[in-house]
């Protein structure tokens, strides 16, 4: 038993190293006083200074923030409803609609929405189309988190409320909502990070005008890599990691969201 434990620990340590070393390298190089991501030359903050003087990057960050806030608001509203509905009522159709966009390759949703926006809605691609697209795939994540929370709860609380004469609305407002609130907030934070990070679906539903953060990063990586990429990466990591840790503290069900 002991010997197999050592073996397990080393394999797991390797896996953790594999997960963290690449990100650590990005962070370290963001402070490196060299244009190349090769040798360590010395400590500098100049890449961060350059970043904050990059007007297009700032606009992109602002746009992405607007998109993420709007999409996570819509997705939290609709996803909470979906999670409640799937848990409470025996619905056949809704679970399929809610969970399929989460499970299928992102490119398919991107393509389908691109064709739909251009052909049917005649929409000029831009912020609105991106917000709609992000909402579509975030609903599923919120619903999974909310449903996981509901599944762990004692149904008799809701029965008691009903027996005492509470209307469905009263039961929801006074009992259900306060109980699922941690999952709702966790779902909102999750949607926010998913939206601000999303590249594939944004790539298909973006217009030509407004700069968006992931697209800016993609262009920098493809065209001309400068350590400014490392700086923006480090800042984004800081932001999303903080949000995920808060979300995980609020609701442990978030860890099971992929496992369904």
């Amino acid at each position: 038993m002991r010997r197999s434990n050592i073996w397990l620990w080393s394999a797991a340590a390797l896996a953790y190293a594999f997960l963290y070393i690449p990100l650590l390298i990005v962070v370290v190089y963001s402070f490196n006083d060299s244009k190349l991501n090769a040798e360590w030359v010395g400590f500098t903050l100049s890449w961060y200074v350059a970043l904050f003087n990059n007007q297009e990057m700032l606009t992109a960050a602002r746009n992405s923030l607007i998109i993420a806030v709007s999409a996570s608001f819509l997705a939290t509203l609709l996803g909470t409803m979906a999670g409640l509905a799937i848990h409470r009522y025996k619905l056949k159709f809704l679970p399929v609609l809610v969970f399929t966009p989460v499970a299928m390759p992102e490119i398919l949703l991107g393509v389908a929405l691109l064709l739909f926006f251009l052909q049917v809605l005649n929409l000029t691609l831009g912020m609105v189309s991106i917000i709609i697209a992000h909402t579509t795939f975030c609903i599923g994540f919120v619903a999974i988190i909310v449903r996981a929370r509901l599944q762990g709860m004692d149904e008799s609380i809701f029965e008691a409320a009903r027996d005492l004469g509470a209307s469905p609305w009263q039961t929801f407002r006074l009992i259900t909502l306060p109980l699922i609130m941690p999952a709702v907030v966790a779902g909102a934070l999750m949607s926010f990070t998913l939206s601000i990070d999303d590249f594939v679906i944004t790539f298909f539903t973006k217009g030509v005008g407004e700069p968006i953060l992931p697209i800016q990063i993609y262009t920098m990586i493809k065209v001309a890599v400068t350590p400014e990429v490392n700086a923006i990466s480090t800042l984004l990591m800081l932001l999303t990691l903080t949000l995920i840790i808060i979300a995980a503290k609020l609701d442990s069900g978030i860890l099971r969201r992929e496992a369904k």
Binding site: M1, S4, L8, A11, A12, A15, Y16, F18, L19, P22, L23, I25, V26, Y29, N37, A38, L77, L78, G79, M81, A82, R88, L91, F93, L94, L97, V98, M104, P105, I107, L108, L109, V111, A112, L113, L115, F116, Q119, A133, T135, A143, S167, D198, F199, V200, P214, I217, K222, V225, S233, L236, M237, I244, I245, A248, L255, R256, E258, A259, K260
Partner: protein
């Protein structure tokens, strides 16, 4: 009273399920159907689509619906090759993820309860950082001037092998795919392994099974549902991925996703792009069905 209650409940049901249902019907079901419909149309002269009905005065041209794009897909061996290559990359990524994730998931499942959530969080955290950044990190590591590249080439040089370029290669694509999808494998495996009753292993040990036999005859067969759902969660997104080969791959590393992307943002052949997307959808459905069938509870051997 009862009757009114039922009515209120019915209204509540529709108030709760109606809005998400409506939103997804409009922004998920309808777009998917439009994609299917687009695959049956002719491409326009300058990209996009040809009109369905022939404009007045048109003498020739291609209008209406057609299966031509599907014929085109099956007539050129190139597309079958790209699909096969995508399947091979997806299979390889899945296998590597499984080999890396299994010991980790097993360790977490056998750790003390109070550490488990933290250990799972540590697996999820890198996954929460930007997707492009995680790919970009490997551009640095595999770049020609990196410490890692120098080390590999020094080792290869010692054996008299010519230096290799790691970045922009199929190797880099595989590394990127595994890196981006590893947590998808760890989580379902852990969820499964956590439920195993440790008494089973004790019983096996009492009956004289050694460590390897205990793993191979007890833990592994019981964990198969987790293995299959984890594999599906890695295989499916890898199959449609275009960003990893786009950033880390060389000119030859074109997978289904890149092909689709080019139809929409490069050559602007919407019908063919839609056809490719439909074929990808069919592949995904087949894989999902297979995984669900393999992971069904009855698949676990009783003895």
């Amino acid at each position: 009273m009862i009757k009114g209650d039922n009515k209120a409940n019915r209204i509540a049901k529709w108030l709760v399920s109606g809005p998400p249902l409506l939103f997804l019907l409009v922004f998920f079901v309808a777009p998917s159907l439009i994609m299917l419909f687009t695959s049956l149309r002719f491409p326009g002269e300058f990209g996009g689509l040809a009109p369905i009905a022939a404009p007045a005065g048109a003498v020739h041209g291609e209008y209406g619906l057609t299966l031509e794009t599907y014929q085109f897909f099956f007539s050129d061996i190139l597309y079958a090759e790209i699909f096969l290559k995508s399947f091979a990359v997806a299979a390889a990524s899945t296998l590597i993820c499984l080999i890396m994730a299994y010991p980790l998931a097993l360790l977490i499942a056998r750790s003390e309860k109070r550490f488990r959530n933290l250990m799972v969080l540590l697996v999820v955290l890198p996954f929460a950082s930007n997707f492009l950044i995680r790919i970009y990190a490997w551009m640095i590591i595999l770049g020609p001037e990196s410490v890692f590249s120098h080390f590999i080439n020094a080792v290869l040089g010692a054996f008299g092998v010519a230096p290799v370029t790691l970045l922009f290669s199929s190797f880099a694509v595989l590394v990127g795919m595994v890196y981006v999808h590893l947590p998808f494998m760890v989580l379902p495996l852990y969820t499964n392994l956590e439920k195993h009753d440790p008494a089973l292993l004790d019983a096996a040990q009492d009956l004289g099974a050694n460590a390897w036999q205990r793993f191979w005859r007890v833990t592994w067969p019981l964990s198969l549902p987790g293995v299959f759902s984890g594999s599906a969660l890695v295989f499916i997104p890898v199959l449609g991925m275009f960003a990893v080969p786009d950033i880390l791959g060389g000119t030859g590393d074109i997978l289904i996703g890149n092909l689709i992307k080019d139809q929409f943002l490069g050559t602007r052949d919407w019908p063919f792009g839609s056809t490719l997307s439909i074929m990808l959808t069919l592949a995904v459905l087949a894989i999902t069905g297979l995984a669900a069938w393999l992971a069904r509870p009855a698949a676990i051997p009783e003895k």
